[in-house]
């Protein structure tokens, strides 16, 4: 028996060595395929199934036009997308092309994760995009994200229900008090089954518009918080007032809002109106909502609209990508190709490239057309986008919503909640 043990041990060692070799082979793959042969790049983005459908179509066209590049895609909802992205980047598995948000671009650029799209292998043609939009992806003079589209904040409402309830439709110059009165009518006439409006108090984006209407901003140019606890308290006084009067959705419903269609009270027909971005309207929007909606600009008490032309999102290339040229080709295609533009339509917002925008404008029908028209009418009143927010801004946004839950569940007074939010927000920005 003793004699046979040695060969057995050797055999095991040999198996182990083989496994080691195969592992080494696996690692070597990327390096071997850079020259000429087919390459595979990964493209990750956030969105919904609707957007996925057209994105896949556009990718098919790209692969047809570039036979030697294969594109693997995957998508998730916004929050899940960014959690996954951080993990992937930390683990060295970043996608080659990634969808980046205006709120996070400085955070990622500062950490050296994104490639410069203005020079080198990852250079992309941006001649069709206005400088105003490009500045949203520019950090310390370098371009880290190119917005394929622009969007802006929008109010959308179930006009049939509003008419039925006798609520006055939004018109130019309508005020926050007008909104509350109209929403109240919808709630009352449905016996509370459908609320006039989905509670907007917890979403920092809508708070920002309201702030800007008073000539203030979220962040100063040097990246510090530019509003006070008193501002937050006044905003929450107004929005929580709508909840208390029954005009807005109850706390249990509001707490579930996570940006997904499934948990949106408007989609569930539990609210007749809500705030959002006009890039959210795709071919199936009315089908999903179960009815047609109309779009209007925000209400304002100051005559100032406060909305701005926002880079709806950006495409970035990861600094760690080994296929920057192929990645740049894909970004270029998604932003500048007319056929791609026609396929993608308004699924990511209004195209940033002027030529693409014109080509797309004529082809639209249904909800995307409504979005496009809204963007055209409100366009002249929009202000330029503020510079990308500082590191930690994503945490501040999440904190804003979380602390608002304290308000609507009546755990603390509004003033206490506003103070608590400010102290957490300051910590998130400075540490």
């Amino acid at each position: 028996m003793r004699r046979r043990a040695v060969p057995r041990a050797l055999a095991l060692l040999a198996v182990g060595a083989l496994l080691g070799v195969t592992a080494a082979c696996g690692g070597g793959d990327d390096a071997g395929s850079t020259g000429g042969g087919p390459v595979t790049i990964r493209f990750d983005w956030w969105g919904n199934p609707d957007r996925a459908e057209v994105t896949e179509k556009a990718i098919d066209l790209f692969e047809q036009k570039n036979q030697n590049i294969k594109v693997e895609t995957s998508y998730a909802e916004f929050n899940a997308y960014f959690q996954k992205l951080a993990t992937q980047i930390a683990g060295g598995g970043a996608p080659d092309v990634l969808q980046m948000d205006y709120r996070y671009v400085r955070e990622y650029a500062d950490r050296g994760v994104l490639a410069d799209l203005g020079s080198g292998a990852s250079k992309v043609d941006t001649s069709g995009v206005t400088q105003q939009l490009l500045s949203g992806g520019t950090v310390k003079g370098k371009l880290y994200g190119i917005p394929p589209t622009q969007n802006t904040q929008v109010f959308s409402y179930d006009f049939a229900q509003w008419e039925k309830s006798g609520a006055a439709a939004p018109k130019d110059g309508w005020t926050w008090a007008d909104l509350k009165a109209a929403a109240q009518k919808v709630s009352d006439s449905s016996g509370g089954k459908v609320r006039g409006i989905a509670d907007l108090g917890g979403i920092e984006d809508w708070f920002e518009v309201w702030l800007r209407q008073q000539g203030k901003t979220l962040y100063s140019d040097d990246g510090t918080i530019a509003y006070t606890a008193a501002d937050v308290a006044r905003w929450w006084e107004m929005t929580d007032g709508m909840r208390r009067s029954g005009a807005a959705t109850p706390a249990e419903l509001t707490a579930k809002m996570d940006g997904s269609q499934a948990n949106d009270p408007v989609t569930q027909k539990l609210a007749s109106a809500g705030f959002g971005y006009d890039s959210g309207f795709t071919a199936k929007s009315w089908e999903i909502a179960g009815r047609e909606l109309k779009l209007a600009p925000f209400p304002s008490d100051t005559g100032k609209l406060g909305q701005y032309a926002k880079p709806a999102m950006m495409f970035s290339i990861s600094q760690a990508s080994k296929q920057k040229e192929a990645a740049a080709k894909l970004v270029n295609f998604l932003i500048n190709d007319l056929d791609a533009g026609k396929i993608l339509g308004m699924s990511r917002g209004m195209p940033a490239n002027a030529q693409v925008r014109e080509a797309v404008g004529g082809t639209l029908t249904g909800p995307p057309q409504v979005g496009f028209q809204y963007e055209q009418t409100v366009g002249p009143k929009l202000e330029p986008a503020p510079p990308p927010p500082p590191k930690g801004a994503g945490t501040v946004k999440a904190t804003f919503q979380r602390v608002y839950d304290d308000v609507i569940f009546q755990r603390t007074s509004i003033q206490q909640a506003a103070d608590k939010f400010m102290s957490e927000a300051q910590k998130a920005i400075t540490t």
């Binding site: 043990a5 929050n79 959690q83 993990t87 955070e107 707490a255 304290d406």
Partner: protein
């Protein structure tokens, strides 16, 4: 009972021979162990030591960690109210879900211990939820079924606890094995003495089963401290509403992966490890008072 006796008895006849053979060549045992030893070193011990180091640094996942000493630990205990909230939520969950889960497991195990033709079927049926245990799908279904409770800060935690209790299969199977090991003579004797069901349960079943109860208690307590999936899915990853389901692990995850504060999250992980070690030690201490090992009295 016959099959079990046979399977227990079978190795005994060959055992002495084997011991002798292994004793001759200890090396071969280590060779066979090596995949797990290597795995434990590289995949468990290595990352643990790395996280211990990281817990003393400011680390944002992408750039080089910078040493901050005890800063993370200091902030946790003195300047982070949500950390304290997370501890309370987790403790409440442990105290609610663990006893209920063990009680459910024991109750079902006792029912299944009776000889019945469909026993195999029932055993599988009760175990099924645990097979699906870690799955996100079940938690999603749970979230839909209990949507009205999930949205309420007063009940959301109970929904997560109920999901855990429902997945009592693993401790149940262990209880079942323990019940089968209790000698029939003891039951016969208590029957002769005229003991009723309750008396037999208290005086025979429970003491004889106490080592198994202890084992399950330790295991399930540790699991409960580490609960994540259910809470993450049911609260949509936010630990809400109003932080009512902000489990320790959920907060750790948020700090590490949403806010990019991996050093801070590592410190939290080590505090959790120490807390679990402490609780386990306390359990072992108290076990001397109530766990009865058959055969001990012979010494």
């Amino acid at each position: 009972m016959q099959t079990i006796e046979r399977s227990v008895a079978a190795p005994r006849t060959r055992a002495p021979q084997r011991v002798h053979r292994y004793g001759e060549r200890p090396g071969i045992a280590y060779l066979f162990l090596s995949p797990w030893v290597v795995g434990a070193l590289l995949l468990t011990l290595g990352p643990m030591l790395a996280s211990l180091y990281l817990s003393f640094t400011d680390y944002d996942l992408f750039t080089t960690p910078s040493w901050v000493g005890w800063e993370n630990y200091r902030t946790l205990f003195t300047d982070d109210p949500r950390f304290i909230t997370a501890i309370w939520v987790t403790l409440r969950y442990v105290f609610i879900s663990t006893p209920l889960k063990l009680a459910a497991a024991l109750a079902v195990a006792i029912l299944l211990n009776r000889a019945s033709r469909a026993q195999g079927f029932y055993r599988s049926a009760f175990y099924a939820p645990s097979l699906l245990g870690a799955s996100v799908a079940v938690a999603l279904v749970w979230r839909v079924i209990f949507r009205d409770w999930v949205a309420s800060p007063d009940y959301a935690l109970l929904v997560v606890a109920a999901l855990a209790v429902w997945q009592f299969g693993a401790p149940m199977v262990i209880f079942l094995a323990g019940l089968k090991q209790i000698p029939q003579e003891l039951y016969d004797a208590s029957a002769v003495d005229g003991a009723g069901w309750w008396r037999t349960f208290r005086s025979v079943t429970l003491p004889m089963l106490s080592p198994v109860i202890f084992f399950n208690l330790v295991l399930e307590t540790i699991h409960a401290f580490q609960a994540f999936t259910g809470a993450f899915v049911i609260s949509g990853g936010r630990g809400g509403p109003v932080d009512s389901t902000l489990f320790y692990t959920l907060y750790l995850y948020e700090r590490g992966f949403s806010q990019f504060r991996m050093g801070y999250a590592s410190a939290m992980a080590w505090i959790l490890v120490l807390a679990i070690a402490l609780v386990t030690a306390v359990l072992f201490r108290t076990s001397r008072m109530w766990v009865f090992y058959a055969g001990d009295e012979a010494r």
